[in-house]
Every structure is written in structure tokens, then in C-alpha cells.
């Protein structure tokens, strides 16, 4: 099933709008090491016009996990983290394009509309363990490749960015 992200977002806003707007200014400043910085067209920030997340802040968001194999790994692993849609909701994203950047400055773009209800996942645990930089950490934007053939495409492979540390939303 192809989900329309905007429809889903609107539905979410209706249900959770009050809570989100109440917490927008409340997004706590990161206490620990910042592992993800979200900038651009977002409604909620916690430091210098950006939303910066440490591990605690990330784990305070709704958690999600799935098990899948990838073309870069052997066997199947269980990946856990925050769904991108939940993350975008948390920062009050209003842009239409997601721009993700890795530690080595690898960068990809895709439309917000392509963000589905079950993918991608901003994973920070593999099989319950944190991911080091040497092992695609600290964050890996990953899709459930095994559950849907439509994810096993070149484009999706390209969007599966590991060692991600920055997100930016463009109008």
C-alpha cells in the first residue's frame, strides 16, 4: 500500500496537534553528545534555530523496529530507532524535501511525500547494540527491504544513508 505522507501528517496534526504545539518550545536542549542536527523548514527548535538531538532526546520519541537483511550486511538484523515521520513531526517539519547528510558529507534528497508510515527508520541500534561509526553508526536511515520488494531498488538503496548526522528540510 502506498501511503500519502501528507495525508498521514494532516491526520496526525489533527489528533496530536495540541500536544505538539505545546511541546514545540519545550523540546529540551540536548544534555549529552549531539548525534543529529535538524535544520531548515521546521517549527520546533531547541538551540540556535535548529533541533539538536542527543541519544536521550531520540529515545524520548516513539520507538519502532524491524528485522531485515541488507545488501551490505550478512544475514538479518533487527534495527531499532525512530521512524522518520515521527522525527519530522517532532520537529514540526513544514518543508517538502528532506536533505540528509552523513559524516563523510555524503548527501541525498528525497521528497517528504515519499516518507511512509513504516519507513524509513532512523536506526541507532542494531540487534539492541548502538552502532559505532566503524559500523555505519551512529544513525542509519534504513528501509525494511525484506518486507516490500518496492524497497529493493537502486533509488531506495541510495537513500539508505548511514553515518547520518544532519537533516535539513527545504520548502
Amino acid at each position: 500500500m502506498k501511503l500519502d505522507f501528507r495525508t498521514a501528517t494532516m491526520a496526525l496534526s489533527i489528533v496530536m496537534g495540541g500536544a505538539l504545539s505545546a511541546s514545540a518550545s519545550d523540546l529540551a536542549p540536548p544534555g549529552g553528545e549531539v548525534i543529529l542536527t535538524v535544520t531548515g523548514a521546521i517549527g520546533t527548535t531547541n538551540s540556535d534555530g535548529a533541533a539538536r538531538f542527543d541519544m536521550d532526546l531520540l529515545t524520548s520519541l516513539p520507538q519502532h523496529s524491524f528485522t531485515t537483511s541488507t545488501i551490505w550486511t550478512e544475514g538479518t538484523n533487527t534495527y531499532s530507532g525512530v521512524l522518520l515521520k515521527d522525527l519530522l513531526a517532532a520537529v514540526g517539519a513544514t518543508g517538502t524535501t528532506v536533505n540528509a547528510t552523513a559524516l563523510n558529507d555524503y548527501q541525498i534528497n528525497f521528497p517528504v511525500a515519499d516518507v511512509a508510515a513504516d519507513a524509513p527508520l532512523v536506526a541507532y541500534l542494531v540487534d539492541g547494540e548502538p552502532m559505532s561509526v566503524r559500523d555505519k553508526g551512529p544513525l542509519w536511515l534504513i528501509f525494511p527491504f525484506d518486507s516490500n520488494a518496492s524497497y529493493r531498488t537502486e533509488e531506495t538503496y541510495a537513500r539508505s544513508i548511514w553515518q547520518m548526522d544532519r537533516l535539513s528540510l527545504a520548502e
Partner: protein, 860 residues
């Protein structure tokens, strides 16, 4: 379109279907292959490999740059260096684990590199993770290792990229080939479909053509059946009507809708025939013989809707088609035709009855007229012999001429009416034409002399005995002669007799009568043989003819199978001739009568002084006969009826008895039989005197034992001739004039006469009775003959009866034999009787066999 072609087309199409299945399968398989390969291409991150390989080198370069910076700038923060190492580590492990590359089957060329990377990472990681004081001194060495590593990596990676490119090419080529195969299969599919389409189009066209043809034929057939004037009823083998045309509707009264599907037995077959019809249908269904089907036209009774039965003419044909056997009946209502036939038959029967009534009337009238006329003429003849003065003589002459004319009228009309009624029967007998013609000439000679004419007879060649009707020949010739004499004064009349075209069995007798009279104009020549033609009224009056003589002559000649004609020139005289084809009598001797006139020229003189008994119930006729006979110089005894005649005949021997036929008490025939039985006159000659002149009656007279016949009215000349004949030739008239010659078993002309007179059925019945009674009678006769002359009368009666029957049927030899036996018995000549009885059984057997053959032969 032959069956072979159809079959070939069907096989062609079946082949196409098979091919179609094959090609579709092929296309599906290839399509599946394409889908599979496509999805594989989509899923496999081939391009990602290139990216990762180049990134690996980039990561190494950036790590080396940080190492060089740390060497060049002591005290620099090493965090960035560590991060670069981690990123290279991450990418290097990815490659070293080979999950991606091993799948691409390029591990062979990348193997040494990954090993080298792994060794480098494993050696370097503790250093990077360790304390700075350990790391810093190692940096220069690390820089050198990294540089070397970078050179090796580049060389190795270039190899991998090349291999990978080659592999990608191969995969593309393979996919391309699948696509080409798919295209080829698709093309084949299109071709097969096109062929199939073509084939189907052709089949469709053929079907359309055939359908149109069938339509045309069936509509033509429907039109044919529909417009048939005969009713057409088509039924299946179950007897139910399949088709019923408009004519059948008209005939039977059912509409087509009513008729179709109904059982014929309920519809058009009369109740009394239904059972037979069903039995017949059952028999045919069971394969039995067909009595009505294909039997041509038959007549049968059918029934209409109104249950009225009527006759039909029917013809049934059979046809076996795909839906079983059907029967096609053509029916024609023949009620009208049969009614017309009945009406015609009735009309014909009525006409025949009327004709018969007319003929009977004519016969009665002739009889009733001729009897008194006979009296008148005889009385006049007698009166004219008495002395009379000139005035009386003149009146008597006028009266006699008038009476004769009247007689001619009566005879002429009677003859014509008989001929018209088809009653003219030619009765052939043995004839000596020379004698016959001579006697006619002798009779006419005195008449010729009255008008100063001389009559000559020339027989140009000798003539054998022939078969012919002497009476009719005489009638024709007398007509010619009386004409010639009437129209000639003081001249000559010549009769010529000439046999022509003679063969062993037949000849043509030509008789010409030539005169030197006034002749006939050319314009009239064609009409002389027509009825009631009088060429010149004045002559007609003078001659007193009825105009019927020549017309009768023509009809008689034609009836005898001859031709008649005349040649004439006005003022120069005429020549009338007849040509008669005649059969020779078997075994007859050629005769010539060089002087026939001399022998018959003086009848009156030679026959004087006979003792004549006249048996006659009519007083006038009795007196007339007596007078005539006395005048001729004979002695006369009279008897007023048959009984008295018999009495007188037995009491006294007479030379001749003149016997009237129609008499009360005992008629002439019975009286003759009695006279023949016994008494003094039983061998004398008995002459019938009658107005009846029919041939079968003559036979009856002869059978009764009479020797001749005189037809009333009687002239003295005829009477004299009969008496003379009796003196000259004592043999009975008409029975075996030539005793040496055996007559044939069957006289075909006699038989033919009888058959035409009484019809085929009557003849067959008569013959059957004759054949049935015969053996017993023959046996009885032989028994009587063996017993000797004790029971003479019974023997005589049997002989007489057999002779009569045999004569009537035309079994000539048996008739002759029995007549001879009878004669012999009468005359007491027992030797002759025994001779006649000899071989009688054989003769009987031959006769019946011949008759059986004759009766089956067609009547000619």
C-alpha cells in the same frame, strides 16, 4: 471444393492452432525471463559498487591527509583523524566482508586488496584507539603505509572496475538476447495469428459461399415444390408430415401449419386403409419390400379434411438424407378426371346403344320391307307371264321396274347402314374367281342384251383357287356391270380378269369392267365413289340408280383390303377396276375355264323337271315360289310349316327342298335336321330361303344340314341358278368341295371373324367349353362307332353337334372330318364313316393344341 481440400484445410488450421499454443508458451516463458531479469537488475545495487569503490579510495585519501596534517602540525586535535579512520574502517570492512562483491563474483581480483585492507585496519585500529603518546610517534610510518596502501588500492580497484564493467556488459548482452528472442517469438506469434486469421477468413468465406448456395438451392426447391400443380407431401419414416405444399393444401383442405407434424394416417389416409398403411410403414422400416414407394403412378383413395374420400393418382419417391429417410409423395386429385372418364364411357355406351338400336331398326325394317316386296315382285313376274294386252304389259313393266328400283334402294340403304355400323364382315371361303366372274357375267348378259350391248369375258391368265368373299366380290362386280350396261347403248361391255403379283401363297386379282358408253367427265371422276352421287340427273332418272352402288363397292373393296378406281373420258367410255389381294388356297390346282359361259349359259334348260318341296308359312311367298318353279318347269309340293314339311319330305323323295327359316311350330333349321335324320328325302338338297343374310347364320344353316341359301326376295334367275347348281354338283354347298384335300387344323380367318364378332372373352369362353366338353363327346362317339350301327341316331347327333361346334370355332379339319362322318352315316356308307373316325383322338389333340396357341396369339 473436394473433400480432400476441406480435409487439408482443416489439418492446416489444426497445425496453426498447435503452433499458436507453442508460440504463446514461448512468449510467456521469455516474458517471464525478462521480468525475472528486470527485477534482478532493479534489485541489485550494481552502481552502488562503483560508488563504494571510489568512496573507499576517497576515504583513504582523506585519512592520509589528516595523518599528514597531524605530522606537519604537532599538537593538532586528533579527533578528525580518528573520525576519518573510522569512516575508512567502516567502508573498508564493508568491502572486506565482501557481502556485496562476492555476490558479483569479482572477489578473485579484489581478494588481495581486501586482505591487505583488513590487515591494515587490524594493525592500525589499536593504534588509533590507543593513547595519543603511542599514536603520535607512529604517524610518519602510518603516513608511508597509507600512501603505499593507496597505490595498491588504486591498481586493484581499477581492475575490479574493469571486471565489473565487463560483467555488466555481459549481463546486458544476455538480457538483450532474451529481448531479441522475445521479439522473435512475438513476431512468430503475430505470423501465426495472421496465418490463422487468413485461414479463418477463408473458411468463413467458404462457409458464406456454401450457405448462400444452400440458400439458393433450398429456395429454388421451395419455389419448385410450392408452385407444383400436384400436391407434394413429404413425410419422415415415422409417418409424420414434414412438408405440405400449397397444392396439397388445396387438395386436402388442411393448411400447411395443420399438416406439418401430423401423422399421415390421421390426416389423409382413409380409415379403412390406415391399418394397411401402418403395416406397410412398419415393414419398410424393418427393411422389407416396398410396394408403393418408387412404384410409379398408382391410383388410391385419399381423404380430405372434410372426411370426404376421393381418388388420387400418387407417386412416391424415397430419399435418405442426414436426418433419416423421407418419403416424397406427389398427389393428384383425379376425381374430375375419373368423372370425365365415366361421362365419356357413359356417352360412348349410350352412343353404341343408340347405334345398335338403329342397326336393329334397319335390320327389322329391311326384313319387314323385303318380305312384302318379294311378294309384289314375284306376283308381277307371274302376272307378266299371263297373256296381256299392250297396255297391261306396259303397266306391268313399269310396276316391275319400280319394284326393282325400290328393292335396290332398300338393299343399298341397308348395306350402307351395315357398313356404317361396322357390321360388314368379310367372310373368306374358297373361291374359283374364274367361275365366279363367269357366272356373274352370265347373269348380267340378258340385261346387257336388253340395251343392245354385248358382254365379253376375258380371263388373261389361269387362276388358282383363292380365299375370298364371293358374295361381296359379286356385289362389287354387279355394281360395275350394271353401271356399265346402264350408261352404254348398243355398245360393248368387257370384263377382264387378270392375276398379278403372284407369289407362292398370294396374288392380286385385278378385275376390269370396260364399256363404250358415255364416259365420265374428268371433273366428276373423283366423286363417283362417294355416297349419293348422281353425275347426271337425267341419266340417273333414266337408269334409276340410287347413287349408292359405287359407294358401296368402294367400301366393300376397302373392307377386303383391295383398291378401287376408274379411268374414263367423256364420250369414250369408262373402265372401272378393282385390285384384290388374295391368299391362295393351299394345294389348289390351277384352273382355267376357257369357255365358262358355255357351261353356265343355259341354266333354265338343264334343270327342268325337278321334284321340289316348298316349305313356307307365308302364303304369298308360297304362291310366288310355286309359280316361279312351275314356270321354270318343275313339279312343286307345298308345305305350310316345318312339321308338314318334315312329314312330306319323309313320305316322298324330293330332289330339292326350299326351306323357309322363320316359321312357327317348327323352324327351318329344326325341320332340316329332322328331314336329314330319316325318310325318303334325307339325302335331297335343302336350300334355305331367308331374309337373314348374316354369315354366322349361313354357318348355322350349313351345320343343320342345309346345302345352300337363297336370299329373299327371290328372282327367277337366282332360283334357276341354285337349282342348276344342285344338279351339277351334288356335294353339299360349303362343305368340302374338294374331298381329297385336308383342310388346315384351324381356319384363321374363320377364327378371326369369330373373335371380332363375339370378342376375345367370348371367344375364350367358347373355346374353353369346346375343349372341356370335347373329350367326353369324342369318347362317346368312339364308343358308339365301335358298337356298330345299332344307335345310329345318337351317333349322328353327336357327329352333327361336333361338326357344328368345330365349324363355328373355325377348327376346319375337325369340322370337315365330322361333316364327312355325318354324311357317311346319313348315306349308310360305313366304310367312309370308319375312315372319318380314324385317328380322331390325335386330331382332337392337335386341334386343341393349335387352338390354345391361337388364343394366346394376338388377334390381328
Amino acid at each position: 471444393m473436394t473433400a480432400g481440400q476441406i480435409s487439408r484445410q482443416r489439418w492446416f488450421r489444426l497445425g496453426l492452432y498447435g503452433l499458436l499454443v507453442l508460440v504463446v508458451g514461448l512468449v510467456l516463458a521469455l516474458g517471464q525471463q525478462v521480468v525475472d531479469q528486470l527485477s534482478a537488475l532493479r534489485e541489485e545495487p550494481l552502481d552502488n559498487v562503483n560508488w563504494n569503490i571510489t568512496q573507499l579510495e576517497l576515504d583513504l585519501v582523506r585519512f592520509q591527509a589528516e595523518v599528514d596534517l597531524a605530522v606537519a602540525l604537532p599538537g593538532r586535535d586528533l579527533t578528525e583523524l580518528r573520525k576519518r579512520f573510522d569512516l575508512f574502517y567502516s567502508r573498508g570492512r564493508l568491502l572486506a566482508r565482501g557481502s556485496m562483491l562476492s555476490r558479483l563474483d569479482v572477489s578473485q581480483s579484489i581478494g588481495p586488496i581486501t586482505t591487505q585492507i583488513a590487515e591494515f585496519l587490524d594493525a592500525t585500529a589499536p593504534l588509533i584507539d590507543g593513547p595519543e603518546e603511542d599514536l603520535l610517534p607512529a604517524l610518519p610510518r602510518l603516513s608511508d603505509e597509507t600512501r603505499r596502501m593507496r597505490i595498491d588500492l588504486r591498481v586493484g580497484l581499477i581492475k575490479v572496475v574493469a571486471e565489473f564493467a565487463a560483467m555488466a556488459d555481459e549481463r546486458r548482452a544476455s538480457f538483450g538476447q532474451v529481448l531479441i528472442r522475445l521479439a522473435a517469438a512475438t513476431l512468430a506469434l503475430v505470423a501465426v495469428l495472421a496465418a490463422l486469421l487468413f485461414s479463418l477468413v477463408r473458411v468463413n468465406r467458404q462457409a458464406e459461399r456454401r450457405s448462400a448456395e444452400t440458400q439458393r438451392v433450398s429456395s429454388r426447391l421451395a419455389a419448385t415444390v410450392g408452385t407444383s400443380l400436384d400436391g407434394v407431401v413429404v413425410a419422415g419414416s415415422d409417418g409424420r408430415v414434414i412438408d405440405f405444399n400449397a397444392a396439397a393444401e388445396g387438395i386436402f383442405g388442411y393448411t400447411r401449419a395443420e399438416a406439418i407434424g401430423s401423422d399421415m394416417a390421421d390426416l389423409i389416409i382413409p380409415k379403412q386403409h390406415v391399418k394397411a398403411h401402418r403395416a406397410g410403414m412398419e415393414r419398410i422400416r424393418a427393411g422389407g419390400p416396398k410396394h408403393v414407394v418408387d412404384a410409379g403412378r398408382i391410383q388410391i383413395t385419399a381423404v380430405r379434411k372434410s372426411r370426404e374420400e376421393f381418388p388420387v393418382e400418387l407417386s412416391i419417391a424415397e430419399n435418405t438424407g442426414p436426418n433419416g429417410t423421407i418419403y416424397i409423395a406427389y398427389v393428384r386429385d383425379i376425381s374430375d378426371r375419373l368423372a370425365a372418364e365415366r361421362a365419356l364411357t357413359t356417352a360412348r355406351d349410350e352412343a353404341l346403344a343408340a347405334e345398335k338400336a338403329k342397326t336393329n331398326f334397319m335390320a327389322v325394317v329391311s326384313h319387314e320391307m323385303r318380305t312384302p316386296l318379294n311378294g309384289v315382285m314375284a306376283a308381277l313376274e307371274i302376272a307378266s307371264r299371263a297373256p296381256a294386252d299392250a297396255r297391261q304389259s306396259r303397266f306391268l313393266g313399269i310396276a316391275r321396274a319400280s319394284a326393282e328400283q325400290l328393292l335396290q334402294h332398300v338393299n343399298g340403304v341397308l348395306d350402307i347402314s351395315k357398313i356404317e355400323a361396322g357390321q360388314l364382315v368379310i367372310n373368306p371361303e374358297d373361291v374359283d374367281l374364274g367361275v365366279l366372274v363367269a357366272s356373274i357375267c352370265d347373269t348380267m348378259r340378258p340385261v346387257a342384251a336388253e340395251r343392245g350391248n354385248t358382254l365379253h369375258l376375258h380371263q388373261l391368265a389361269p387362276l388358282p383357287m383363292v380365299r375370298g368373299d364371293a358374295f361381296r366380290i359379286r356385289q362389287v362386280l354387279e355394281s360395275f356391270l350394271s353401271n356399265a350396261i346402264k350408261f352404254t347403248s348398243d355398245g360393248s361391255v368387257t370384263v377382264e380378269l387378270e392375276p398379278q403379283d403372284e407369289t407362292d401363297t398370294s396374288l392380286v386379282a385385278e378385275i376390269r369392267v370396260t364399256d363404250t358408253g358415255i364416259g365420265i367427265s374428268e371433273a366428276d371422276l373423283g366423286r363417283v365413289f362417294e355416297e349419293f352421287v348422281m353425275l347426271d340427273p337425267s341419266y340417273g332418272r333414266e337408269a334409276g340408280g340410287t347413287g349408292l352402288g359405287l359407294a358401296i363397292a368402294r367400301r366393300l373393296t376397302e373392307a377386303m383390303g383391295g383398291t378401287i378406281g376408274v379411268e374414263s373420258e367423256a364420250g369414250e367410255g369408262s373402265c372401272f377396276w378393282i385390285r384384290l389381294p388374295m391368299q391362295k388356297r393351299a394345294g389348289s390346282a390351277r384352273t382355267t375355264r376357257p369357255e365358262p359361259a358355255a357351261r353356265v349359259s343355259a341354266p333354265t334348260g338343264a334343270a327342268e323337271g325337278l321334284d321340289v318341296l316348298v316349305v313356307e308359312d307365308n302364303a304369298t311367298n308360297r304362291i310366288v315360289l310355286e309359280e316361279l318353279l312351275r314356270t321354270l318347269g318343275h313339279r312343286v309340293t307345298l308345305a305350310v310349316d316345318g312339321a308338314e314339311g318334315v312329314k312330306r319330305a319323309r313320305a316322298h323323295r324330293h330332289d330339292v327342298i326350299l326351306m323357309d327359316i322363320s316359321m312357327p311350330v317348327l323352324d327351318g333349321i329344326a325341320a332340316t335336321r329332322l328331314i336329314r335324320e330319316m325318310g325318303k328325302s334325307r339325302h335331297c338338297r335343302i336350300i334355305a330361303v331367308t331374309a337373314h343374310t348374316l354369315p354366322d347364320e349361313l354357318a348355322r344353316f350349313r351345320a343343320a344340314g342345309m346345302d345352300g341359301c337363297l336370299t329373299k326376295p327371290i328372282s327367277s334367275a337366282e332360283l334357276a341358278a341354285v337349282l342348276v347348281m344342285g344338279q351339277e354338283d351334288a356335294a353339299p354347298v360349303g362343305t368340302g368341295a374338294d374331298p381329297d384335300a385336308e383342310p388346315p387344323l384351324i381356319d384363321p380367318e374363320r377364327t378371326a371373324d369369330l373373335r371380332s364378332a363375339i370378342g376375345e372373352d367370348g371367344f375364350a369362353r367358347a373355346l374353353a367349353r369346346f375343349a372341356g366338353d370335347g373329350p367326353a363327346k369324342i369318347a362317346a362317339l368312339q364308343a358308339l362307332a365301335a358298337a356298330g350301327p345299332r344307335d345310329r341316331e345318337a351317333t349322328l347327333a353327336l357327329c352333327h353337334e361336333l361338326a357344328g361346334a368345330a365349324g363355328t370355332l373355325g377348327t376346319a379339319r375337325l369340322h370337315a372330318r365330322m361333316a364327312a362322318a355325318e354324311t357317311a352315316l346319313r348315306e349308310g356308307d360305313m366304310a367312309a364313316f370308319s375312315g372319318a373316325m380314324e385317328g380322331l383322338s390325335d386330331l382332337w389333340r392337335d386341334t386343341t393344341a393349335a387352338m390354345a396357341a391361337a388364343v394366346t396369339a394376338p388377334h390381328v
